[in-house]
């Protein structure tokens, strides 16, 4: 390497890419001219680019690293559907998305370098999509020649905040459903486990609703106040304004629920009338999210509007991968009646109705017994002496007519006293 002292590190990077400094300056001149900058600004842009492959390390755009863990890219895809503003405006006017496996122009070393430099420059947000996988010592997820968890920890440590987008990032999502073969868990739990203290903001959903991601970014990017964001969070580190109410609370079909107008079969006339989907398994009443308010895809529709019962994809306890939405909510199209305790899958209704029936039957049988034994009219005669007393004559509880055979202590005065305490004293 002809790494001379006079050559800046950036020059050597350029050189290793086969770019002369002159051609680079020409590119910069092009950029500056296009932007209507005076020629004097060219060296400033050039020096900004010299600092790093990410260009200026700070500016009007908020730096963001978007890492895909064990994901289906659905959350990135979903984010790409954002319409307020559209995603092009987001990545050109609001955030500097320096690393995204789906959108970055660069690949391989170059994009890894962009990530490393963003981390070094600091003051960025990490958005993490997909589950954290621990199976095979983390090798269930390999990126850039290393295990996925390493990339997460590196990027999370210096971030201002980690936004876990999608239910997979919050607690493993469907991957954590039994038997959880990849040993998936959520970002918050993993970071707590390895001792990374960066605050985590959980935004569940399968996929995440892009409007919810934007609503998180607004605090940081537009209002520029991280505390605003952190103060919005509920116990699950989710923005309370988005995840404190159930789907049911804001459902457009709620009126039909109150009227008792239900869909009992898919694709039926009731479906077309927009009746309530509760009998076909809707998980809206127990799922906390604002789908019915935010809507999806340019506010075009949402699951329930399209006729599909909510499958509760936002159900996601960040501290418990076992409480993932698939495990909790299947079967999706039946009203939920089961209770899972460990490997047991109980059916409380069946158990309860059976026990209640047995008790009722037992009481009827008992009643015949009572009748047969003549206890119906005032019960059996009282015992003459307590059994214990007859066996322990020295420590008797009751006072009896006869200490051995027992019997009531017949005493008119005591009867009078007990039956009319006004004469007592």
């Amino acid at each position: 390497m002809e790494n001379q002292a006079t050559m800046s590190e950036f020059d050597s990077i350029l050189a290793s890419r086969g770019v002369s400094r002159r051609s680079f300056m020409k590119l910069c001149a092009g950029i500056a001219a296009a932007a209507g900058l005076s020629p004097l600004a060219v060296p400033r842009v050039a020096s900004a680019l010299e600092e790093s492959v990410i260009g200026a390390t700070s500016g009007d755009l908020y730096p963001v690293i978007w890492i895909e863990g064990a994901s289906c890219t659905g959350c990135t895809e979903s984010f790409a559907q954002v319409e307020t503003p559209d995603v092009a405006s987001v990545v050109l006017d609001l955030i500097s998305l320096n690393y995204s496996e789906t959108l970055s122009a660069a690949a391989g070393h170059s994009v890894e370098e962009a990530k490393a430099q963003t981390i070094k420059a600091g003051n960025y947000i990490l958005i993490y999509e997909g589950a954290v996988l621990e199976a095979f010592d983390g090798n269930a997820l390999r990126v850039a020649g290393e295990v996925g968890t390493t990339a997460l920890v590196e990027a999370a440590e210096s971030a201002n905040a980690v936004v876990a987008v999608g239910s997979c990032a919050v607690n493993g999502g469907w991957m954590a459903a039994a038997p959880n073969p990849a040993q998936a868990l959520g970002v918050q739990q993993y970071l707590e486990k390895v001792g990374v203290a960066t605050p985590v903001v959980n935004v569940p959903g399968c996929p995440v609703n892009p409007e919810w991601v934007m609503s998180v970014l607004v605090d940081v990017v537009v209002m520029k106040d991280m505390d605003l964001l952190l103060n919005r969070l509920n116990d699950f580190n989710m923005p309370g304004d988005l995840f404190n109410q159930t789907i049911h609370d804001n459902c457009e079909r709620r009126g039909h629920f109150e009227n008792g107008e239900f869909v009992y079969e898919f694709g039926s006339e009731e479906e077309a009338l927009g009746y309530c989907l509760y009998p076909v398994g809707c998980k809206g009443p127990q799922t906390r999210a604002m789908c019915g308010v935010t809507l999806w895809n340019n506010r075009r529709s949402w699951c329930v509007q399209a006729g599909a019962p909510c499958v509760g994809c936002c159900e996601s306890n960040p501290h418990n991968p076992g409480d993932n939405w698939v495990e909790v909510n299947t079967p999706f199209y039946k009203r939920m009646r089961d209770l899972r305790i460990g490997p047991l899958n109980l059916q409380p209704t069946t158990i309860a109705v059976t026990v209640t029936g047995l008790v009722a039957a037992a009481l009827v049988v008992h009643g015949f017994g009572m009748k047969a034994s003549g206890r119906m009219d005032g019960g059996a005669p009282f015992e003459k002496i307590r059994k214990w007393d007859s066996k322990h004559p020295q420590q008797e509880i009751g006072t009896y007519a006869d200490p051995v055979t027992g019997g009531p202590v017949l005493d008119e005065e005591l009867v009078h006293k007990n039956a009319d305490p006004r004469n007592n004293d």
Binding site: A34, A56, L97, A178, R300, W302, A306, A308
Partner: protein
């Protein structure tokens, strides 16, 4: 000899690594590695086919609809259901919306940045750009002056956002042709495409609640019930997308072909193709004749050999080999099968190097994807495809009928536009068809299962190629589930006979100037539109007891 590695491959779905042996500026050997294991088939065990359709679509955020449909078809077959005609049309519409979304996103927002340099557009003369657009017949939907200013403001700020990484300097600055006016116009289409793919998704959302991960398709049909106002919305969006597609995609592709003729010279691949067919035909229903059903699809099924000879698919010729992937054993399994276990060893290209299994058809690697579908449709004589393929061949300077002219990186990239236009036209047609059916009094969308025990395989297509789901259902619960994904075919590692997978074969011979930034390799990878998240998955041994995790309301132990 030097090694060149691209890891991560960006602008795809999932985690993919490509390692190449470079000799004399060309790739001499290549290994493709899928980086993520999630275990989908294990998760759907013992759940209902309806639940499975919802869960398995989460395997992929780019082509969820295809997975939901392949799973639903498998469920239909297992349950003995023939879906109603209306449900067939709605599934086609839903699938078509996703195809449009995926193809638009892929061409402009994933693949195009291999050819288009938006930063170079800053040096454009806007007047000349308008001139160029008129000359080449390029679509002009955006105000180029406004775009030019927007890019200028972006550059002035200095933060490079998604353009970080200095990638446009690849191959010594020669990787990207210095054509600022073309770059400006294509950048405008890049930005429009972001809106158009969202619009296509919006159609899917109208029909399926949301996109990705639509909610309405299940075994038995569809939950979505059309109303006049929804049909009207759907038609308006279908027309909007169709018009944009027809104006834009083909001329743009021809400009790329003009700017990058060398990309027509490498990246052939294995030269054998599979397509299971997609979009059920309008001669519905086809009774129990599955082959007839697949042959009558709008894009029909076909297995093509090296000479484009077509045969019908035979399920038992589909096999998967484990010897180079991180699964136990070196066995080859014949579909449908439900028995493999993950076992990570180490990344070693001489032994095991990927989470992707190695599927073969009749013992050979096969390429799946849009090119496979178009070839199959061409050979089967679908009129729109025949006409347009010949037209494009003419524009590329090849003889009509010479399908081999497409067997390259850019050819694979270009041919997909024919499919995009075909589907865009069909969408409008299907909305009308649905409206007619409703007018005729047909109001059936969902049929209940005939039985609860059975087996079924769903042969279908994702935007990126042949998709296969198979399930065994006993008393309404899934006992075994198998998935073979298009990218599993394309990203397959070395097979039992030592042959490379299709992408590996395509990479061999690709010129690489800069081993740090092997742009031509990336172009080739993108031409396949790979999707690795779903390519990696696992089936379970019959016992299914290998994993110790216990879930409970009280926590995972």
């Amino acid at each position: 000899m030097t090694r060149s590695v691209i890891d991560p491959i960006t602008r795809i779905e999932g985690h993919l690594r490509v390692e190449m042996e470079v000799e004399n500026g060309k790739v001499a050997d290549a290994w493709v590695s899928g980086g993520c294991f999630r275990g989908m088939e294990l998760v759907v065990q013992n759940r209902t086919p309806e639940d499975a359709a919802q869960i398995v679509e989460r395997i992929c955020g780019v082509c969820p609809v295809s997975h939901a449909h392949a799973s639903s078809i498998a469920g239909d077959k297992a349950y003995g259901i023939t879906i109603s005609n209306n449900a067939r049309i709605i599934r086609n519409l839903l699938e078509g919306a996703q195809f449009l979304h995926s193809h638009i996103l892929w061409l402009y927002n994933l693949a195009a940045l291999d050819y288009v340099n938006p930063l170079n557009a800053l040096q454009a003369n806007v007047d000349d750009a308008y001139g160029l657009a008129l000359e080449k017949g390029l679509a002009l939907h955006s105000d180029l002056n406004q775009l030019y200013d927007k890019l200028g403001a972006f550059a002035q700020n200095g933060q490079l956002s998604i353009f970080s990484g200095n990638w446009f300097e690849a191959d010594g600055g020669k990787a990207y042709v210095d054509a600022p006016e073309a770059n400006l116009i294509l950048t405008s289409h890049y930005l429009e495409a972001l809106k158009m793919q969202a619009r296509a998704s919006e159609m899917a959302a109208l029909l399926g609640g949301k996109m990705p991960h639509v909610m309405t398709s299940i075994p038995g049909g569809n939950m979505w019930v059309p109303t006049e106002s929804k049909l009207d919305d759907l038609l308006a969006m279908a027309i909007e997308v169709r018009d944009w597609v027809n104006d834009t995609v083909l001329p743009d592709t021809l400009v790329l072909a003009e700017l990058y003729p060398e990309a027509m010279t490498f990246g052939k691949g294995c030269g054998r193709y599979i397509a299971w067919g997609v979009f059920e035909g309008n001669g519905w229903p086809y009774g129990d004749d599955y082959i007839e059903q697949m042959k009558n699809r709008y894009l029909p099924m076909g297995v093509l050999d090296e000479k484009f000879g077509v045969t019908d698919v035979q399920e038992d010729l589909i096999q998967e080999y484990m010897g180079h992937s991180w699964y136990q054993g070196d066995d080859t399994y014949t579909s449908p099968y439900f028995t493999t276990d993950p076992a990570f060893t180490d990344y070693n290209v001489d032994d095991r190097y990927t989470w992707v299994k190695c599927p073969t058809y009749d013992g050979k690697p096969m390429e799946a994807g849009s090119m496979s579908r178009i070839f199959a449709a061409y050979v089967r004589g679908v009129p729109f495809i025949k006409q347009n393929v010949d037209a494009v061949l003419g524009l590329l300077g090849a003889k009509p009928g010479d399908l081999s002219a497409f067997q390259s990186t850019l050819g694979r990239t270009a041919i997909r536009q024919i499919e995009t236009m075909y589907v865009a036209d069909l969408m409008v047609e299907w909305v009308t068809e649905l409206a007619e059916a409703i007018k005729g009094g047909d109001s059936e969308y969902f049929r209940a299962p005939e039985r609860t025990t059975g087996e079924g395989s769903g042969f279908w297509e994702a935007p990126r190629g042949a998709l296969y789901h198979s399930e065994k259902v006993v008393d309404g619960k899934i006992e075994g589930y198998q998935i073979i994904i298009p990218s599993t075919w394309n990203l397959a590692p070395i097979n039992a006979k030592g042959e490379h997978g299709p992408l590996e074969q395509a990479l061999i011979g690709v010129p690489v100037e800069d081993i740090e930034m092997p742009i031509n390799a990336l172009r080739t990878v993108h031409s396949f539109d790979p999707c690795t998240a779903c390519a990696v998955h696992v089936t379970d041994r019959a016992t299914g007891k290998h994993f110790e995790t216990v879930t409970s309301p009280w926590g995972v132990k």
